[in-house]
Subunit: 442 residues, 2 copies
């Protein structure tokens, strides 16, 4: 009855090939070597690396790879009949990573990947291929690094209808925001510090513009809601437009600023799916407000379990390797099933929710010229758009000489805020772009 080994029937080793040996690949090798015996006990069989492949064999990876077979051509991993599992760590949504993934699954091999971009763009196609070939496709490392959140949602929360899923899905942004919070730093200075510390890349676009978090959010949404992955439907707003004063005013209002990816399905609107990555004000009594530095955290709210909160390292060689090897152990144990918790044929096509219709409180910040009538202009624009103001702060002498206005609205649709700010952005007295952020509802 059980697909797992009984103690009396020793099972052959699971034979693994690693493709793309960078920081993460080196971590996987180190992990499988360091925890070798423990993993064999837990998996019910040894897990053996039988081959490696990457572009440059001679690059120094800080780990001795000379004991392993090397293939210059990744295709050789797919062709070899002594390989059960291909671990794809090449990266990129398309190109060699996707070719390898398709070939490996097509050949009936198990595929483990850390590639969030590839899963976000091609996850459904790959899952269908895995089903056709009756072979596992696993991607725990693609979302929130070392936190086993794919498993926690796919299996741990499987009894629940999930109302919404959200979290801090990008450690680089959280590191930058934490630095702005602690040191009153500007975005530019905090980014530079994050780059110097190795937490941000030289080209930080993918992280700070929310693209990376959008990939992860789309995967979580598909799993939570049983919907087809739709990366094109995820709106992403990054953190570049935040100024130090936003962090400060948020704190004065009892909140912290975090880049939040959130997905929510609205049963009242035909199951329309809202997916947005954007900076938000998180109330100080919500656990996301305390997630520091480069950590990640995910919240899932189920109709029976209530709020589940998971926190841990979202990136780095060790945590990512931990997630990859957990997937390999599941395969070794024969404990796996459809990639998105149900067969692709059972997934819904969710209509895209109208983000303008989303109701909530908002934080708005403007820098205005210090002259008579500006306040009236703001109040009028808000009133005309139907925005009701709950609290209002005005501070003179901001850097740049303007006056800072920070306000919190009552609950209302996002489109009213957009309309008010569009009107104000056209005003001669408003300096630069107004900033607005939703306040996370508890």
């Amino acid at each position: 009855m059980s697909p797992s080994p009984t103690p009396t029937t020793p099972r052959p080793p699971l034979r693994v090939a690693l493709a793309g040996i960078g920081v993460v690949g080196g971590g996987v090798v180190r992990l499988l070597e360091a925890n070798r015996e423990l993993i064999a006990r837990r998996a019910g069989r040894p897990i053996e690396i039988v081959a490696l492949s990457a572009r440059d064999r001679h690059k120094d990876r800080g780990v001795d790879l000379s004991a392993y077979r090397w293939e210059d051509d990744m295709g050789a991993l797919v062709a070899a009949d002594d390989i059960d599992v291909v671990v794809e760590m090449v990266g990129g949504a398309d190109g060699p990573a996707l070719t390898l993934a398709r070939q490996a699954l097509g050949a009936g091999k198990a595929l483990v990947t850390a590639n969030k971009a590839m899963i976000a763009h091609h996850g459904i196609d790959l899952a269908r291929l895995a089903e056709e070939k009756d072979t596992p496709l696993k991607y725990e490392a693609a979302v929130a690094g070392g936190i086993p959140v794919i498993k926690a949602i796919r299996e741990g929360a499987s009894a629940n209808e999930i109302a919404r899923v959200y979290g801090i899905l990008n450690g680089t942004c959280n590191y930058i925001l934490t630095l702005m919070e602690r040191e009153g730093a500007s975005f530019a200075d905090a980014l530079a510090a994050a780059q110097a510390e190795g937490y941000a890349e030289a080209d930080p676009t993918f992280d700070v513009d929310g693209v990376d978090a959008a990939h992860k959010l789309s995967i979580l949404a598909a799993l939570c809601f049983g919907t087809r992955l739709d990366i094109g439907a995820v709106a992403a707003t990054g953190i570049r437009d935040l100024i130090a004063a936003d962090i400060r005013e948020a704190e004065a209002l009892g909140h912290r600023v975090r880049l939040i990816g959130m997905a929510e399905r609205d049963p009242a609107k035909g199951g329309a799916l809202y997916q947005h990555v954007q900076p938000c004000l998180v109330p100080a009594d919500h656990p996301l407000a305390y997630v520091p530095g480069a950590l990640n955290a995910v919240v899932a709210e189920g109709n029976f379990v209530g709020r589940l909160f998971f926190e841990g390292a979202g990136a780095g060689a060790g945590p990512t390797a931990s997630a990859i090897v957990a997937d390999i152990i599941d395969i070794a144990r024969d404990e796996y099933g459809p990639a998105f918790a149900m067969p692709v044929s059972a997934l819904d096509e969710a209509p895209v929710a109208d983000p303008g219709a989303r109701v909530g409180k908002h934080y708005v910040r403007l820098i205005v010229e210090d002259r008579i009538g500006v306040l009236a202009e703001i109040a009028t624009a808000m009133r005309d758009a139907g925005v009701s103001i709950e609290s209002f702060i005005q501070r003179g002498d901001e850097a740049g000489g303007g006056v800072l206005i920070a306000l919190v609205t009552h609950e209302g649709p996002a489109r009213a805020i957009h309309a008010a700010l569009a009107a104000l952005a056209a005003s001669d007295h408003v300096v630069g772009e107004p900033m607005h952020m939703p306040i996370l509802a508890l």
Copy 2:
């Protein structure tokens, strides 16, 4: 290759019987009814309740059970050949619950249980029986209620050697401690409030003396360390001896008081296993310090993943039902394996660590008479026992008329603290029992 259903082969329903229909049992019925279709999509087959059994058929459980077959005798569930899974919610370490569990597994049925006492006392025997019969034994609901922490550790963190596992495992105690913290209440008043709110039982012994948390800790330890469950080796100190001043002084020292169950294995001492439930001072920058009310939270520290933190509802009908049904879905999917992550034969017998040898900082609080020489007596007792003091607070005019002394030690073995306090407890000038708590090391 995959044990899971392919979309082309519909599978028969999984047939479930529920034994012991109280608050949790009612929750399981409601959940399986409310989320019926979603669960069938996720599980790859319908999950059907085919029979119920409890002592009193006519008790009002707030849910209509008339549609289900009723068995007055739980043994009938085991005998019936139209039942695949028995869910044990009878409670109690021994007696009818254990009889049912043994009979169900013995008959080759799958067993799902929420019974932490039974697993803590008989988990190894039951796991062995499940292996012999090649049938699943699952107990997600036994630890930390709705948080899928058994799964997160058994599978999510499976690639890691776990250095230590610890957390807030009893919601009643955390509710009481949170109340003492927020309102400056005494233990007795906070307990009475918890009882009035339904968070504590009329006889609160199991909760406030740490017995319930000890059961859960022993289960986590076995899973994390691959050791045989040994409930007899778990030391438990409850929260009855805490006074409002302890919470206040802890806060003044930058800490919060939480009842922490911690297990740690010391590779330097033959893998000796330390398992202790006790109130601890948690630093304000540790996520456990922010776990409010009746929530539970668990931390696992792995050698590659680093610190994982899981928080959620630790009790209640909905969260417990969520965990029970997640186990049932795993069984429906054929995604399960050995109960303690590896066969019983692969589990170690861990030697019991000497708790006195455990090194750390400690908080000590004494109430003393307000007279000359008392301070010298304390300082001398500490010095003689080899305890070095890091900080010291003396406050006059405590309730009861004594003087309160609160101090934090430098790092040292617990046995030195015990020796110093034993000497001081014998003093005529010390009023009542001295209190000491370890400070959680980050």
